[in-house]
């Protein structure tokens, strides 16, 4: 019986494997091949280096050495409030420092802000348990994140039952951005899966409903969906029923990202060979068993890059909620520009905004790469 995968055994007559010569490996070879392989390539390399030299150092200086980081003494002592003229040159980080509370929490009352922090810490613990923690705790992490966390954090954020009530009109800043993004991201995955399965279903009614939903929501700009959710949702509800603006927006954005997610997942489902369905069905698994145990794990794995791509796009699109008067992170920063004390700090404000969004999106991107590597089981298709 030949059980080992075939490999040639090292034998007497075989020549030994030698390391490759310096000219084909190592940093010098890489540079020669990629940067200096032809006259044109050499010219482009030098030009690029020159451009980088012209751009990067001034930018770094603007953000660090030239920037103002520390409040003047009279502000610290309390004689006056800080203003943009305290920043002579470079980035005015004083603007960010002075207003960071609003940027992060919006108009959330200051003594209650611990509740926001606490609920996001709980969320972070849940996400860690779900995605990065040890496998044996994953079940509890899932129950915590999908059942306990939404209830507790809603109570913490909204108040009531012993906590001071904070209406959603006072929510804002980065916290609001995170709420909208998290709700959309977490709900869009199950809805997207159901819509994708529905679209591939043999049942004509289910199929038709899913197609109509997906094509309609996907064919309309997000801004329109938000407006429509804001204006049209109340028309379908009894007149005495007041639906909160944030809730309306959440319904709209979640529907929007779910439609995109459905198509991403459908693409993944389409890539699974027919043999996988047959193999699973031949073992006696029913439709949901086949999907849950065999097809979806594979389809979701190959869709990870597109799923995360959708999430990243959606995370940035949450800024559109400012169109219906919600103060998300970007809108909150822009509001700061209107302050008479802070004239001409737009560049700093937008740079700060960009940096925060970039850190969030880049972390998602890195995590998806890590996940892809982790789930790679060396299978060929």
């Amino acid at each position: 019986m030949t059980d080992e995968t075939v490999s040639v055994p090292p034998s007497e007559g075989r020549k030994p494997d030698l390391p490759p010569p310096m000219s084909v490996s190592g940093p010098w070879a890489w540079m020669r091949e990629n940067l200096f392989s032809s006259p044109l390539n050499i010219a482009l390399t030098i030009l690029s280096l020159l451009l980088l030299y012209l751009i990067i150092p001034p930018l770094v200086a603007w953000a660090t050495t030239l920037a103002t980081w520390v409040f003047p003494t009279e502000v610290i002592v309390g004689d006056r409030s800080p203003r943009s003229s305290d920043c002579p040159d470079g980035a005015c980080w004083l603007f960010v420092r002075a207003r960071i509370g609003q940027f992060l929490f919006g108009f959330y009352p200051e003594p209650e802000r611990w509740r926001v922090i606490l609920s996001f810490v709980l969320g972070a613990i849940g996400i860690y348990g779900l995605l990065g923690g040890p496998a044996r705790f994953r079940k509890y992490a899932a129950i915590f994140f999908f059942v306990v966390f939404p209830i507790v954090s809603f109570w913490l954020l909204r108040g009531g039952l012993g906590l001071m009530s904070v209406p959603t009109e006072q929510w804002g800043g980065f916290m609001l951005t995170l709420v909208i993004a998290l709700v959309g991201i977490v709900l869009s995955l199950p809805f997207g899966i159901l819509l994708a399965l529905g679209r591939r279903s043999n049942l004509p009614v289910v199929h038709l409903l899913c197609v109509i939903f997906i094509e309609f929501v996907r064919g309309v700009p997000l801004i329109t969906v938000i407006f429509m959710a804001n204006i049209m949702l109340p028309l379908f509800l009894p007149p005495d029923m007041q639906v909160n603006v944030l809730l309306r927006v959440l319904v709209g954005t979640t529907a929007f990202v779910s439609a995109y997610m459905a198509e991403v997942i459908r693409g993944g489902l389409q890539a699974i060979p027919k043999g996988q369905f047959e193999g699973a069905m031949a073992l006696g698994l029913g439709y949901w068993g086949v999907m849950r145990l065999v097809i979806l794990p594979q389809a979701l794995r190959i869709s990870i890059p597109s799923i995360v791509n959708t999430f990243i796009g959606f995370f940035k699109d949450t800024t559109l909620v400012s169109m219906v008067g919600l103060y998300d992170f970007l809108n909150m920063v822009k509001t700061g520009f209107k302050d008479a004390n802070w004239v001409g700090v737009e560049i700093t404000g937008f740079a700060f905004c960009a940096a925060v969004y970039w850190v969030c999106c880049f972390s998602m991107s890195r995590y998806s790469m890590h996940l892809e590597r982790k789930l790679h089981t060396g299978h060929k298709r």
Binding site: M1, D3, T5, A282, L283, G284, L285, R301, T377
Partner: protein, 261 residues
């Protein structure tokens, strides 16, 4: 392919009198194309049937109808006393009791070998995980690759993957095993290891229906060889009679093509 000598005994195995699979007047069409024409076939417990015939003759379609991977449009298929109809309960019962091995293995690439084997026992038979693991290891030993239990299918050779696929079916403790060209996608040096496992399975008394071009296997273990062409069963006989004394011209032509290439 020279069959191992100990396999001779497989030919003398007892065949029961109870019917495991019965096809009567089965017809099937793919659109306008009539794939199966009035198929009548009765398989008794313990029978080892080899189905052969040129490609496109409907042999794969026929055995895929037996666990309803394909739907027949006319006629009747009864497996272990249960008739295949649109009733999902019946279909799922038949699929639980009938194992199937495919040409391209169809192992689940995201699960380890052990998880591939225990998936159906745990989720379909509701077996406790420990018990399912033990059963899986038993069958992996039977197909001689227990040491691969924690690898992924993508890390195994074709022959090993096919043996895992056989073990996966056996874990459901099936009453009938269907083989759909199990060695056709394998490199020549791996065909033998799969056939050996199939021969042992036949010796254990399993009811088997094999679509295969391995005529050595047919001679060694089959008690009946069926020849199909153009969607019909042209001829069926014991291997001796079938190979030495074929009745129809089409069978003679087919045999001359596959035996003297």
């Amino acid at each position: 392919m020279t069959p191992p000598t100990h396999a001779k005994s497989a030919r003398e195995l007892e065949i029961g009198t109870d019917v495991m699979v019965e096809l009567s007047g089965v017809n099937k069409w793919y659109g306008q194309f009539h794939v199966l024409k009035d198929i009548d076939l009765t398989v008794y417990r313990g029978e080892r049937i080899v189905v052969c015939g040129p490609s496109g003759s409907g042999k794969s379609t026929m055995i895929r109808c037996i666990n309803r991977l394909e739907e027949h449009q006319r006629g009747k298929i009864v497996v272990d006393g249960v008739e295949l109809s649109h009733d999902l309960k019946h279909i799922e019962y038949v699929r639980r009791e009938v194992g199937m091995v495919f040409q391209h293995f169809n192992l689940f690439p995201h699960l380890t070998v052990l998880e591939n084997l225990t998936l159906a026992p745990i989720w379909v038979r509701k077996m406790p995980k420990k018990e399912a693991d033990a059963a899986a290891m038993h069958y992996l030993e039977r197909v001689r690759i227990p040491e691969q239990a924690h690898k992924y299918p993508g890390q195994l050779s074709g022959g090993q993957q096919q043996r895992v696929a056989i073990a996966r079916s056996l874990c459901m403790n099936p009453k009938v095993m269907l083989f759909d060209e199990p060695t056709s996608a394998l490199d020549p040096e791996m065909i033998k290891e799969v056939l050996e496992v199939m021969i042992e399975l036949a010796q254990s008394g399993m009811t088997m229906l094999c679509v295969t071009h391995e005529m050595g296997f047919a001679r060694t273990v089959a008690n009946r060889v069926i020849f199909m062409d153009f969607g019909e069963i042209i001829e069926q006989n014991t291997p001796e009679e079938f190979f030495n004394n074929p009745k129809s011209d089409r069978t003679k032509l087919f045999l001359s093509q596959i035996l003297h290439h």
